[in-house]
C-alpha cells in the first residue's frame, strides 16, 4: 500500500510541476513539455523492459527512434511519381542482390565444410561482388531520382496513407531491424553489446543522413501530415472562437493549445496501453522467467530456458516500443531531420531516465521520463537563473560574468551528470524501486 501512495505522490508532484510551468510561463510550453515527456516515457519503457527485466544493455535507442521517424516518411508522404519512372525498382533490386549475397555468405559460413581460411576468402569475395553489383545497378537510378526537383522532392516519397498508421509501422520496422541486430550481437558481453548497439545506431543515422533517395538526407522531409487538425483550420471554427471569448486569450494561442491537447490525448492512450501490456507481461510467467534469466543465467539455462531466444524476444519487443515512440516524435515535430539524432539526447538521456526512475519498474520509467525530460528542458532557464543569481554582485561589464551567462545553458549537461551519479551512488534502485515478487 505504501508503494502505491508513493507512486501517486510522485505523479501528482510531477503534474504540479508541469502546472507550474503552465501558470508561470505558458500553457503552450507546458503542453509541449508534457507531450515530449510522454514520448520520453514510452522510450524509457522500451529500455526498461530490456535492461530492467532482462539485463540487456541497448545503447541503440537513437537508431530505433530514427527508424520510427523513417516510417513516417514511408507511410504518410505522397509518392514521387517521377521517381518510380526513373528506376526506383532498380534500387530495390540492387539492395535485394546485396542482401542475398550476405545471406549466401552466411550460409557458406554455417553450412559448408570448408576450412576457416577458405571461408574467409569466399565470404569476402561474395560480399565484395554483391556490393559492387549493387552499386553498378543502383548508382544511376539514385542519381536520376535525386535530380528530380531536388529542392522539393528528390526522393522516393511514401505511400500517402494516414500518418497514424506509421506508428505501428515504425514499431514493426524497428522490430524487424532489431531482430537482425539482436541475432548477431546478443551473444556479446554486456559492455561489448553496448558499444555494438551504439555503433549500429550510428550507422543507421549515417545511412539516413546520406541516402537522399530514401529520406532526403540532411535536406530533411518537411510537412509531414498530421493526425490532428491544423491551427489555421481551427481558428475559423465557431466553437474555438467561443472558447477564445470565454478564456479571454488570443485565438492563435488557443488553437495551438487545442492541437497540443489532442496530441496529448492520443499519446496518453498509447502510453497507458503499452504500460498495461508491459505490466501484464511482467506479472506473467514470462516476466518471471525473464527476471530469472537476468538474475542467474546459468541456473535459468539449467532449468531448460532458452536464453538466446528469450533475449532476442525481449530485445525485439523493447526496440519496437522505441520505434513507436520515435514515430510519434517525428509526427509531433511534423518533420524528419536526421541531424537532430544525437546519442546524447536520444540514447544516454533515455538511459538516465530509466536509471533515475528505477530500473525494473514500469511506473518508475514513466516518472523518470517525465522528470528528466522536464529538467532537460527547464534546466536551461534554471541554469541561467542560477548563474545570474550568483553573479549579481559582479558588474555587468565583467568579462567573466558575460561569459558565464553565455554558457549557462550548458549547465544542464552538468546537472544531468550529477543527477545520474548521485542516484547511482545513493539510491541505485531509483525513485520507484523494482517490486519484489
Amino acid at each position: 500500500m505504501q508503494d502505491k501512495q508513493h507512486i501517486i505522490l510522485l505523479f501528482l508532484s510531477m503534474f504540479i510541476l508541469i502546472a507550474f510551468v503552465g501558470f508561470f510561463q505558458s500553457w503552450n510550453l507546458a503542453l509541449t513539455i508534457f507531450n515530449l515527456c510522454i514520448i520520453s516515457s514510452i522510450m524509457s519503457l522500451g529500455i526498461n523492459i530490456q535492461w530492467g527485466n532482462a539485463g540487456i544493455v541497448n545503447f541503440g535507442v537513437m537508431g530505433f527512434a530514427a527508424l520510427g521517424g523513417l516510417a513516417n516518411i514511408i507511410v504518410s508522404m505522397p509518392p514521387t511519381a517521377k521517381a518510380w519512372d526513373a528506376g526506383a525498382i532498380y534500387i530495390l533490386f540492387g539492395i535485394v542482390i546485396f542482401i542475398s549475397s550476405i545471406i549466401f555468405s552466411i550460409l557458406v559460413w554455417l553450412k559448408s565444410g570448408l576450412s576457416k581460411k577458405k571461408k574467409y576468402i569466399i565470404n569476402f569475395l561474395l560480399i565484395i561482388l554483391g556490393y559492387f553489383l549493387m552499386r553498378y545497378i543502383i548508382d544511376s537510378p539514385i542519381k536520376a531520382i535525386e535530380a528530380i526537383e531536388p529542392a522539393k522532392t528528390g526522393y522516393l516519397g511514401g505511400l500517402d496513407l494516414p500518418v497514424i498508421i506509421s506508428w505501428p509501422i515504425g514499431g514493426l520496422l524497428a522490430a524487424f531491424i532489431a531482430y537482425f541486430i539482436g541475432k548477431i550481437s546478443l551473444g556479446l558481453r554486456s559492455d561489448y553489446l553496448a558499444i555494438a548497439t551504439l555503433g549500429i545506431s550510428e550507422i543507421i543515422i549515417y545511412i539516413l543522413k546520406n541516402e537522399d533517395w530514401l529520406s532526403r538526407g540532411v535536406k530533411n522531409v518537411n510537412g509531414l501530415p498530421r493526425p490532428v487538425p491544423y491551427e489555421i483550420d481551427l481558428q475559423s471554427e465557431p466553437w474555438v472562437l467561443e472558447l477564445t471569448k470565454f478564456f479571454n486569450i488570443p485565438v492563435s494561442e488557443i488553437s495551438s493549445i487545442i492541437v497540443k491537447l489532442s496530441y496529448s490525448c492520443i499519446f496518453l492512450v498509447i502510453l497507458i496501453g503499452i504500460l498495461l501490456l508491459l505490466e501484464i507481461a511482467q506479472k506473467s510467467p514470462w516476466g518471471r522467467m525473464m527476471r530469472a534469466i537476468r538474475d542467474n543465467e546459468v541456473s535459468a539455462n539449467a532449468m531448460g530456458k532458452d536464453i538466446k531466444t528469450r533475449h532476442l524476444q525481449v530485445f525485439v519487443i523493447g526496440s519496437a516500443i522505441i520505434g513507436i515512440a520515435g514515430a510519434m516524435l517525428t509526427t509531433l515535430d511534423g518533420q524528419f531531420t536526421p541531424v537532430t539524432y544525437q546519442p546524447l539526447r536520444f540514447t544516454f538521456l533515455i538511459w538516465i531516465m530509466v536509471i533515475i526512475g528505477g530500473s525494473g519498474n514500469n511506473f518508475g520509467s514513466i516518472i523518470g521520463g517525465f522528470l528528466i525530460w522536464f529538467f532537460w528542458v527547464q534546466s536551461e532557464p534554471l541554469g541561467l537563473w542560477f548563474i545570474s543569481q550568483i553573479t549579481t554582485h559582479i558588474s555587468d561589464a565583467n568579462i567573466i560574468k558575460s561569459h558565464l551567462l553565455e554558457n549557462a545553458a550548458h549547465i544542464r549537461l552538468i546537472f544531468m551528470g550529477m543527477i545520474l551519479l548521485i542516484t547511482l551512488r545513493f539510491a541505485p534502485k531509483g525513485l520507484i524501486p523494482e517490486v519484489k515478487r
Binding site: V57, L188, A194, I195, G199, I200, N210
Partner: protein
C-alpha cells in the same frame, strides 16, 4: 615516373593522414585499454577526458600568447602540453576519488561502472562547454608546413605534390615517444610490472604486497597523460570542438576492440587499422588510376568504394564486424565478466 606520381598521391592523401589519425586513435585506445584492464570497465568518459585535456591546452596557449611567450615557429600548444597533462591527471584523479572509487570498493559489475562513466561523460562535457563554450577553436600557431607541395614539386620535378603538415610531424613523433615510454614503463620498471600483475589477477597481486590504491593512481596518471596528448594532437590537426570529442569515443573504442581490448600493442594496431580503412574505403581512386592506366582504360566516376560522408561510419562498420566475427580482436584481448 607515372608510377611514382601515383605513389606520391597515395602518400600524400592516405599514408600521412592515416599515420596521423591512426596515432591519435592509438593514443586514445591505449587509454581506454589501460582503464579496461586495470580498473575493469569500459570508460565512455574517455572522449571527454581528451576534450578536457585539449581545453586545458587551449587555455594555457591563450595565457602564454597573451603574455607574449613564443617559441619561434614551434606550436605553443606542444610547449604547454606538460602543464595541461598535469591538469588532466588531477581531474582524472578527482573523478576517481569522488566517483569511480566507490564502485571499485563495492566490486560492482562492469556494466554499472559503464553507466557511471556515462554520468561522468555528461558532467565533464557540460563542464567543458561551460568553461570554454561549444564553439570551434583553432589553436594551432607557428609554422603550418614542414614540406609544402610547391617546394616538393620544385625539388623533385614530379607532377604530384607532397605536403607534410607540421601537425602531422608532431603527432607522429610524439606518439612514438609516448608509446616507447609506455612500453618501457610497463615491461621494464617494477611499478609497471606490478601494474600488469594487478591487472592479471587482483587477489594474487594483493597477496604479493602490491598496493592497489597506488596502482589505481598510476593508472589514472597514464590515462590522463594519454588522453591529454591524444586530444591535443587531434585538436591541433583538425580543430577543437567539444561536440566532436563525444563522437570520437566510438572510433577509439573501435580501435581498442579491433586490436583486442586489454592489449596495448593491439590498441596501437587497432588505431591504424581503423584510420587506414577509413581512408582507403572513402578515397577516390580516379586520380590514382589516371597516372597508371591509359585513357582508354580509365573508367568513369570517382571510383570510390563509399562516399566520403560515410568516413566515420566505416569505423563503426569495422567495429561491428570485428565484434561479430572475432570479439577478442586481432590480438587476443582480455574478457572481464
Amino acid at each position: 615516373m607515372e608510377f611514382l606520381n601515383s605513389f606520391i598521391l597515395i602518400t600524400n592523401y592516405i599514408i600521412f593522414p592515416g599515420l596521423t589519425y591512426g596515432s591519435q586513435l592509438a593514443l586514445g585506445a591505449l587509454g581506454i585499454t589501460i582503464v579496461y584492464t586495470v580498473l575493469r570497465f569500459s570508460n565512455f568518459a574517455h572522449g571527454e577526458f581528451m576534450s578536457f585535456g585539449t581545453m586545458s591546452t587551449i587555455i594555457l596557449t591563450w595565457v602564454f600568447l597573451d603574455s607574449n611567450i613564443k617559441f619561434g615557429t614551434f606550436p605553443t600548444a606542444i610547449i604547454v602540453l606538460p602543464l595541461s597533462i598535469i591538469f588532466t591527471i588531477i581531474y582524472c584523479l578527482l573523478v576517481d576519488k569522488f566517483v569511480f572509487k566507490f564502485y571499485r570498493q563495492q566490486k560492482s559489475k562492469s556494466v554499472i561502472a559503464l553507466i557511471v562513466s556515462i554520468g561522468v561523460m555528461f558532467f565533464t562535457g557540460g563542464l567543458i562547454r561551460f568553461i570554454i563554450g561549444p564553439g570551434d577553436k583553432n589553436f594551432m600557431d607557428g609554422e603550418r608546413f614542414i614540406l609544402k607541395a610547391k617546394d616538393f614539386k620544385m625539388l623533385t620535378g614530379f607532377d604530384e605534390g607532397l605536403t607534410i603538415k607540421s601537425t602531422q610531424g608532431v603527432t607522429i613523433i610524439l606518439t612514438i615517444i609516448l608509446v616507447v615510454l609506455l612500453f618501457w614503463f610497463l615491461n621494464k620498471t617494477k611499478t609497471g610490472k606490478s601494474m600488469r600483475a594487478y591487472s592479471d589477477n587482483q587477489e594474487l597481486a594483493l597477496l604479493s604486497g602490491i598496493n592497489p590504491e597506488r596502482i589505481v593512481v598510476i593508472t589514472w596518471i597514464i590515462t590522463g597523460t594519454l588522453a591529454c596528448v591524444a586530444g591535443t594532437l587531434y585538436g591541433l590537426d583538425k580543430s577543437y570542438k567539444p561536440f566532436t570529442y563525444l563522437h570520437l569515443v566510438l572510433p577509439i573504442f573501435a580501435a581498442a576492440i579491433v586490436g583486442g581490448v586489454g592489449n596495448p600493442i593491439g590498441a596501437i594496431i587497432g588505431g591504424f587499422v581503423i584510420s587506414f580503412s577509413e581512408l582507403l574505403i572513402t578515397f577516390a581512386y580516379k586520380k590514382f588510376f589516371f597516372y597508371i592506366l591509359t585513357d582508354n582504360f580509365l573508367p568513369n566516376g570517382l571510383l570510390q568504394i563509399l562516399s566520403t560522408d560515410y568516413k566515420i561510419a566505416v569505423s563503426f562498420i569495422i567495429l561491428v564486424l570485428v565484434l561479430l566475427i572475432k570479439p577478442t580482436g586481432i590480438y587476443k584481448g582480455k574478457i572481464i565478466e
